[in-house]
């Protein structure tokens, strides 16, 4: 039997094995499919610099390229196993076994892995091994006498046909499951809040489509509601696992809350206000019996993000919640569907994990969450800030009364006053519009009698503790930017 036939046998058998593993995974746990699992494991193990290079050079085709490379590696190994397997049957067992264990190991390494995720890879490997054995049977190991070519081709065609049918099945199953999942969010019917909180003017809210998005997810996770659950564990008297239905069955609250990203520059766009519907977190935690010494709640997302929040912060009376709804609809996929955490008054990186998969009660010593291990502050209360939204920077205005307007925020403390300063003039009080709670931004406006010339407009806020927003400039790293937003305009 020639090497070419051996290689072909290896490829066909491997194709059959991978395809059956994929169809098995598609029908049960898509994340357990060997190709996706190995791809995910490779991405996790790749140094950041290489990842950045890949994103930069390949753009959005980085993952297809990765999967193709994985396919090529598997194909090469399969061909080698087929060639070597002609004379030494050990390789017929070892080849598929190595690939199967690699797939199974990768599946187990995924953040949301379950023990049975090894099944598709192992079953696929076993079938590939059997197919390879069958294809190579009859080949004379010692003399290398050629096996009946016609019989071999028939057998190879049969296995290849099986592979095609299985992969076709995998595609079909994935398509129907994927379609069902895309429909899953649309089919979610959120119950009304038991406690609707203060009413809020629509003008204060940021539409979901315009809401800022800052995260590290390479692709937006699409979560199967049927397979999803939230595990609460660690330093609690009793662990808990909640399905989406379990969450919706609890009394929900709805609150307007302004979210702020720590990487927002002075005057920057990374903030927004929405009506959030969710399960209040404090009573849930208390019902599980938080052990003394539990200082930090670490939230994990399905794609491996970790976000830590002080337990004391979550239990201090604020409306921290497991949010399921945003502005009257289920969470958009990119904002964390099906469930995200939301901690009013804390920058998102330290309190508002998206695509939630688990909550662990632990200590600060025990675990540094993702951004904290990169030097960002472990505790991150939102700093008092204000922004000029109108006029725009560098605007050319006509002399006369110009309305200067914007927002100010000091979540948890509330805004007491906003002042505007033109050039080096005195600070003047701006008018505050009503705000529904201390957790949202406040809209302000000021009528400026503008005279011709170049002018700068500065704004500062005072919170309800009497503290004036600091003029001192700080960069977003490590705990949020500060400084008075100051823009230049020209009046003629």
């Amino acid at each position: 039997m020639r090497a070419l036939a051996g290689a072909a046998a290896g490829l066909v058998a491997a194709g059959f094995g991978v395809a059956t593993a994929e169809v098995l995974a598609a029908a049960t746990r898509p994340a357990a499919g060997p190709l996706i699992a190995v791809g995910g494991a490779v991405i996790d193990a790749t140094p950041t610099a290489v990842k950045e290079f890949a994103v930069r050079e390949l753009g959005t085709s980085d993952k297809p390229v990765l999967l193709t490379v994985i396919g090529l590696v598997v194909a090469a190994l399969a061909a080698v196993a087929g060639i070597a397997g002609r004379r030494r049957r050990l390789f017929v067992v070892a080849g598929p076994a190595v690939l199967g264990l690699a797939g199974a190991g990768a599946a187990l390494s995924r953040p949301a892995a379950e023990p049975y995720d090894v099944v598709p890879s192992l079953v696929g490997a076993a079938l590939a091994g059997l197919a390879l054995w069958w294809l190579l049977r009859g080949g004379d190991r010692t003399s290398g006498v050629r096996v009946d070519r016609r019989r071999f081709l028939r057998a190879a065609a049969l296995v290849a046909g099986g592979a095609v049918v299985a992969s076709g099945g995998a595609v079909a199953v994935r398509r129907s499951v994927g379609g069902a999942r895309a429909r899953a969010r649309e089919s979610v019917r959120l119950p009304a809040a038991a406690d609707t909180g203060p009413s809020v003017d629509a003008g204060l809210l940021t539409p979901n489509k315009d809401f800022y998005r800052v995260d590290t997810a390479l692709t937006v996770p699409r979560i199967d509601l049927d397979g999803w659950s939230l595990r609460v564990h660690g330093m609690v008297d009793r662990e808990l696992r909640l399905s989406f239905a379990d969450l919706l069955a609890r009394p929900l609250i709805e609150r307007p809350v302004t979210m702020t990203c720590v990487s927002n520059e002075v005057g920057g766009p990374y903030m927004g206000t929405a009506r959030w519907l969710g399960v209040p977190l404090a009573p849930l935690l208390r019902s599980l019996g938080v052990k003394s010494g539990a200082e930090q709640l670490v939230a994990r997302s399905v794609e491996g993000m970790t976000i830590g929040t002080p337990v004391a912060t979550l239990l201090d009376g604020r409306d921290a919640m497991l949010a399921v709804g945003m502005n009257g609809e289920p969470l958009p996929l990119e904002h964390g569907f099906p469930v995200r955490m939301l901690t009013p008054g804390v920058y998102g990186y330290a309190g508002s994990c998206k695509w939630l998969s688990s909550l662990e009660l632990t200590t600060f010593d025990q675990f540094d969450p993702y951004w904290v291990s990169r030097g960002w502050a472990a505790e991150a209360p939102v700093k008092t800030g204000s922004r000029v939204d109108r006029p725009r920077p560098f605007a050319r205005l006509t002399a006369g009364t110009v309305t200067v307007a914007g927002v100010a925020w000091a979540q948890r403390r509330g805004i007491a006053a906003v002042e505007v300063r033109i050039d080096d003039g005195p600070w003047a009080q701006a008018e505050l519009l009503p705000a529904p709670s201390v957790d949202t931004w406040v809209q302000w406006r000021y009528s400026w009698p503008a005279v011709a010339g170049p002018h700068s407009i500065a704004v500062r806020a005072t919170d309800r503790t009497g503290a004036v927003q600091t003029q001192s400039r700080a960069t977003p790293f490590p705990s949020g930017a500060t400084g008075w937003h100051t823009i230049s305009v020209t009046v003629s």
């Binding site: 991978v18 950041t48 050079e57 193709t68 994927g178 590290t216 002075v266 030097g375 937003h485």
Partner: protein, 212 residues
């Protein structure tokens, strides 16, 4: 969905032996892409980065730090607004000083979609020190000069040539094509099409002066 489709495609390549490239999948099924996080302490939680961030051109680009974790690198600059981006780049420290003195940091950072012609330190070095110090001390003149370097809208290299009205009010004129451009006939673009979160930057080797 895309990943799933490609799983199927990659599976298909396994037994089709004739391995073809996966090609470009432009499925717009709602998946977003975001920049990969960086590991340095100074890295920020990031938002989506433009895909064309690496199409810079010009001999001067080689002076820009290549290490993505360096705040002066193209990758880091693409993540932050223009004044912040410039402040991370040692080639632009004089410009940054001037922008701070003129009080234009926030205006540049919160302007939506602008093009900045950014003179290097060497460009400022061409101005006699006494004159430069005088300009840096005169906020009105300084503002006029700096805003003359800013054009509304993000100009891609294809639409760079021609006359453009600046924020100062006067026009500037870009001549040339391809990777070879001059501004007002004198200042050469040494590194072009540098992306920041809100601005496209062309680094130039001379300071531009408005007529008025």
């Amino acid at each position: 969905m895309r990943a799933m489709k490609f799983t199927a495609l990659a599976a298909a390549t396994l037994f089709s032996i004739s391995l073809t490239a996966c090609g470009s999948d432009s499925s717009t099924d709602g998946e977003g892409t975001a920049a990969a996080p960086t590991t340095m302490a100074s890295s920020a939680p990031e938002s989506s980065a433009p895909a064309d961030m690496m199409t810079t051109f010009g001999a001067g680009c080689s002076a820009v730090p290549a290490d993505a974790s360096n705040p002066g690198s193209f990758q880091a600059m693409a993540q932050v607004p223009v004044a912040t981006a410039a402040s991370g780049n040692p080639l632009l420290s004089t410009l940054v000083t001037a922008v701070k003195k003129a009080g234009l940091v926030d205006s540049l950072n919160s302007a939506e979609g602008i093009t900045v012609f950014a003179p290097t330190n060497d460009a400022f070095g061409k101005i006699p020190k006494a004159d430069l110090d005088k300009v840096l001390a005169d906020k009105k003149t300084l503002t006029s000069i700096l805003t003359y370097h800013v054009v509304p809208g993000k100009l891609a290299p294809e639409s760079l040539a021609g006359a453009h009205k600046t924020l100062q009010g006067d026009d500037l004129t870009v001549s040339g094509s391809g990777e070879d451009f001059k501004v007002n006939g004198a200042a050469s673009v040494v590194c072009g099409n540098v992306q920041t979160a809100n601005a496209t930057v062309y680094i130039i080797d001379s300071v531009l002066m408005p007529k008025s």
